[in-house]
């Protein structure tokens, strides 16, 4: 059986993607699904900004506005940023460490489909009686008060997609620990691999508290529990703790991989090795560790008392130190370099001042006594958008442009890429800078309207105009993708010509097996070392031989589909008694598929030496 490139029909391609366990195809699935959710979240953001453009507007009011606001936050964090980060990790990390796939290819596919069905389930709420409306934080007293099924969609949808994320995180931990090529010691790993490693560890510890919180809330909403009902001895503050013990590390789960992407890009386009590599690794680990020590700074006004507030204030400030180390290391990576301003590099360069602004307002927020003013005002909205957009979204856009040729084999248009960048960059600052001042001038967060005469008109109008710049940028990006797909220039293996890490040594897109021979890694920036010594390829660590590959499987899809059905069943069980059976049937589908997976022997298959030789020769000629 030959699985190597051959023209296929549309149906066959779809089936291929439904059953694939190849990390590169899963990366594309994550990219497409995350991209679509990113567009949905973007449209929601536009609706919000249109409503707030002028005082007393009635475009989307009250409950509907709250639904849009909730879905904007939830979608952007869980359904756009997380999967897009996973897209980058899947596309790059196994190749960066010289592996042929992740440790658990089957689980990798399962992780994607769980995320996907969770996200689809959550968005079904729009068509089935209304979306969740208690904010992405879904604080317990409000979310228990919320009528309809909106919050149920939130609880069950996030639970399902959260399982997917947890599985993905564990998979990358194991992959990085066990699958590194010979010579790839920890201190030779590229920084994107390092940040993936730390972010995966954060996922491992941060998602379980969310799972617990969601289960408690599911019990309260659907099965008569009283965990968050003070009248029955419950306590809503517990939800806040559980949510933020997850929620704060979540920020680092998103931003650390973005830091990794920037580290790769700075080094590549400055043609210099990363300045202070070991302190960058140290800073990454330290940020990950401290990320778990600061959650209560989201609750400074909840009444925890001065002792707790003071401790968490100081702990939060401490995070600025390793983050500062990173910023200066990036600056000094460029220092003395030969900087090429490609589109990914533009994002990376623009990231520094943008993210520093978000970082310093973070330190301002950490000053607990002053935070009583900032908390839940537009100042905070400005702060976290500076961090998430200026850090994570810039990182993802940079990474997408940087690795696009590697993933798809074609170069995105640099001209359109730069147009996208400038529109997005200007729009971003236009939208969010002014919001700092709106907050300081007394504008609370999450308001659907405001009265005239409070001094907020100009600021809000400017902010809305900025949002349209970002929307235009996104449209240009989409045009770029379409144009590239239709008639893009074919990319070389070392697509940018300055690649340093292993992924640039294999063809674009890489063959199914990544490396014909597992490479021998001889130092940091393994491919750069080989190039500097005048070699074309990598030093192999093994003779050419048959390569063992995992079989594709439809089971991950079916397991996830079962949970999707089960969630509907359990959600409606109070209205319709038969609905409970739907729920049980869904669980049976899931458990049945898991049973099948356990009992059927699946030994995978081999790609034979001759096929590899043939493919490699073709690749060289092309």
């Amino acid at each position: 059986m030959s699985t190597l490139a051959r023209k296929k029909g549309v149906g066959a391609v779809i089936w291929d993607y439904l059953t694939t366990v190849d990390h590169k195809k899963i990366a594309i699935l994550y990219l497409i699904a995350g991209g679509i959710f990113f567009l949905a979240g973007g449209v929601e953001a536009l609706l919000i900004r249109i409503q707030l453009a002028v005082p007393n507007n009635d475009f989307v009011v009250g409950g509907l506005y709250n639904q849009i606001l909730t879905m904007h936050g939830t979608t952007m964090i869980f359904l756009a940023a997380m999967p897009l980060v996973f897209a980058m990790m899947n596309a790059v990390v196994p190749i960066q460490i010289g592996a042929r796939d992740v440790a658990f290819p089957f689980l990798n596919a399962l992780g994607f489909w769980l995320f996907f069905f969770g996200g689809v389930f959550l968005n079904c709420s729009w068509f089935l009686g209304g979306a969740p409306d208690a904010g992405w934080t879904s604080y317990a007293s409000l979310s228990l008060e919320s009528p309809g099924h909106g919050i149920d969609f939130y609880v069950l949808g996030l639970q399902i997609s959260g399982f997917g994320t947890l599985i993905g995180g564990i998979n990358f931990l194991v992959t990085i620990v066990t699958m590194r090529a010979p010579g790839m010691t920890y201190m030779r790993m590229p920084l994107f691999t390092w940040t993936t490693f730390v972010a995966s560890a954060l996922i491992l510890f941060a998602f379980p508290p969310l799972t617990v919180g969601l289960i408690l809330m599911m019990m309260d909403r659907l099965f008569g529990g009283n965990f968050f009902d003070p009248a029955a001895g419950g306590n809503t503050i517990i939800w806040e703790h559980l949510f933020w013990i997850f929620g704060h590390p979540e920020v680092y789960i998103l931003v650390l991989p973005a830091f990794g992407i920037f580290s790769e890009i700075f080094a590549t386009f400055s043609k210099k090795r990363l300045f202070g590599y070991s302190s960058m690794v140290f800073a990454t680990v330290l940020i990950g560790f401290l990320g778990f020590m600061v959650w209560a700074h989201h609750m400074f006004t909840a009444g925890l008392g001065p002792v707790a507030n003071a401790i968490f204030a100081v702990a939060t400030m401490a995070i600025a130190v390793p983050t500062g180390i990173k910023i200066f290391n990036w600056l000094f990576t460029m220092w003395g370099g030969n900087i090429r301003f490609t589109t990914p590099m533009l994002y990376a360069v623009a990231f520094i001042p943008s993210f520093v602004m978000g970082g310093v307002t973070g330190v301002m927020n950490a000053a607990a006594a002053a935070d009583y003013q900032y908390h839940d005002s537009y100042f905070v909205v400005a702060h976290f958008h500076y961090v998430i957009v200026g850090g994570v979204v810039f990182g993802l856009l940079a990474g997408a442009h940087y690795w696009w040729p590697k993933m798809f084999g074609k170069m995105l248009s640099e001209k359109l890429g730069k147009v996208t960048f400038w529109l997005f960059f200007i729009g971003f600052h236009l939208t969010f800078f002014i919001q700092h001042f709106l907050g300081l001038m007394g504008m609370p967060r999450r308001v659907f309207t405001y009265l005239p005469g409070q001094g907020w008109e100009t600021g809000n109008l400017i902010s809305t105009i900025g949002a349209f710049f970002m929307a235009t940028a996104t449209v240009v990006l989409l045009i770029n993708i379409v144009v590239t797909t239709v008639k893009g220039k074919k990319a070389d293996a070392d697509a940018w010509g300055d690649g340093r890490t292993l992924e640039w040594a294999v063809a674009s897109p890489p063959p199914e097996y990544n490396f014909a021979q597992t490479p021998l890694v001889r130092g940091l920036d393994a491919y750069w070392i080989e190039k500097m010594e005048g070699r074309k390829g990598l030093t192999p660590a093994e003779p050419l031989g048959d390569i063992h590959m995992p079989n594709p499987s439809i089971l991950p899809f079916i397991i996830s589909l079962g949970l999707f059905i089960a969630a509907f069943g359990f959600m409606y069980h109070k209205q319709h008694s038969w609905s409970l059976f739907v729920g049980i049937a869904g669980l049976l589908i899931t458990l049945g598929s898991m049973f099948l997976r356990s009992v059927i022997d699946d030994h995978g298959f081999h790609i034979h030496k001759e096929e590899i030789l043939e493919a490699e020769n073709k690749g060289v000629k092309a």
Binding site: L142, M364, Y372
Partner: protein, 355 residues
């Protein structure tokens, strides 16, 4: 110097100043125009932290701009490979130690202010001074109740406080979580559903004069469809006037003379009195007080917290509450009223005054 140049300079100076002042927001609402001890303490922390942070930004920006311009690729240098530098211990230590020092400069006043703002010992019930003013704030779905336990009076929507002294607050919520925030006067504190939070604020007389005697209050925690409309107002009075107000409130009773208002009173007593009280001395337990106390409704700043205080707006509110505040708890509790009934009710409600 030419005259036009001078004029132009003055003009630009004034426009910059105007921009700065406009940038500080309204005196009744902005945290940048602090109107009391708490707000001042927080404002100075803001200034300190902003100064440190701007310093950081300036340093980063200078290095950033220099690097990006100086080390950009020039024509003909495409192939040049720069020196591969590993790092520098000296530099790394510098940019680790300096931030730590900056953070210590910020951390010390932060911790000190955090403890100062949490000092609510004077509101201890047993040892409470006679002059100490304590207000029980109870947040409800889209309205605020203010109870003065030492005076036995209750009001809602418009908080009345004495100036130039610390006022202590007990904060709680009776349904979902809200947050009590008077931006110009001080930071916010949440009203939780399971416990009572306590803090204090001080209202400065001079700032109150500048703000026109009224500060704006906001709900700062998402609480449902009308979260954006859950405003309240704060009347800050000199202590003497505050004491007079308390006396008036203690003895306030509705006095109805106008015949139309009398009609309104009858309708009110039939349809509204189950939830709304019309005397400030409301002895019912708080669970029974499910709607705002209306004893001084005629003196209020706003209808339903957000509309201008006019008869037309009151009629609009009574006719269709959901059109004003979506998701409020009053809509649908009193059946349909005819225009005539609404007119009568309006007359009656507007006549409820203590001042």
């Amino acid at each position: 110097m030419k005259k036009w140049l001078l004029n132009w300079r003055l003009f630009s100076l004034f426009s910059v100043m105007a921009l700065l002042l406009a940038g500080c927001g309204k005196p009744f609402l902005s945290t940048l125009q602090p109107a009391g001890e708490v707000a001042h303490m927080q404002y100075s922390l803001m200034l300190l932290s902003t100064a440190i942070m701007v310093l950081v930004i300036i340093v980063v920006t200078i290095i950033f701009v220099y690097v990006v311009i100086r080390f950009r690729q020039r024509k003909g240098e495409e192939k040049k490979i720069p020196k591969q530098v590993e790092g520098s211990h000296k530099l790394e230590i510098i940019w680790t130690v300096i931030p730590i020092l900056l953070l210590i400069i910020l951390a010390v006043p932060t911790v000190s202010a955090t403890f100062k703002l949490a000092d609510v010992k004077p509101m201890n019930k047993e040892k409470r001074d006679k002059n100490t003013v304590v207000v029980n704030v109870r947040a409800n779905l889209y309205w605020w109740e203010f109870e003065y336990p030492d005076y036995g009076i209750i009001t809602s929507q418009d908080l009345v406080v004495p100036t130039n002294q610390r006022v202590y607050f007990n904060l709680k919520s009776s349904d979902v979580k809200h947050s009590f925030w008077i931006p110009a006067v001080g930071g916010k504190m949440d009203t939780n559903t399971e416990n009572k939070n306590q803090f204090w604020l001080e209202f400065d007389q001079k700032a109150a004069d500048k703000a026109g005697g009224i500060f704006y209050g906001k709900c700062a925690e998402l609480c449902g469809p009308s979260h954006a409309l859950m405003d309240f107002k704060v009347k800050a009075l000199p202590r003497k006037e505050f004491d007079q107000w308390v006396e008036k409130m203690k003895h306030a009773k509705p006095v109805v003379t106008d015949p139309v208002a009398k009609q309104g009173e009858e309708i009110f007593n039939k349809s509204c009195i189950g939830c709304h009280a019309v005397t400030p001395v409301d002895k019912r337990p708080e669970q029974a007080r499910t709607a705002p106390n209306l004893a001084n409704f005629g003196d209020r700043e706003r209808i339903a917290g957000i509309l201008d205080h006019t008869e037309a707006n009151l009629k609009k509110w009574l006719k269709d509450p959901n059109s004003v505040k979506p998701g409020n708890k009053m809509a649908g509790t009193y059946g349909n009223l005819t225009d005539e009934q609404i007119n009568a009710l309006t007359k009656y409600l507007m006549s409820l005054k203590v001042e």
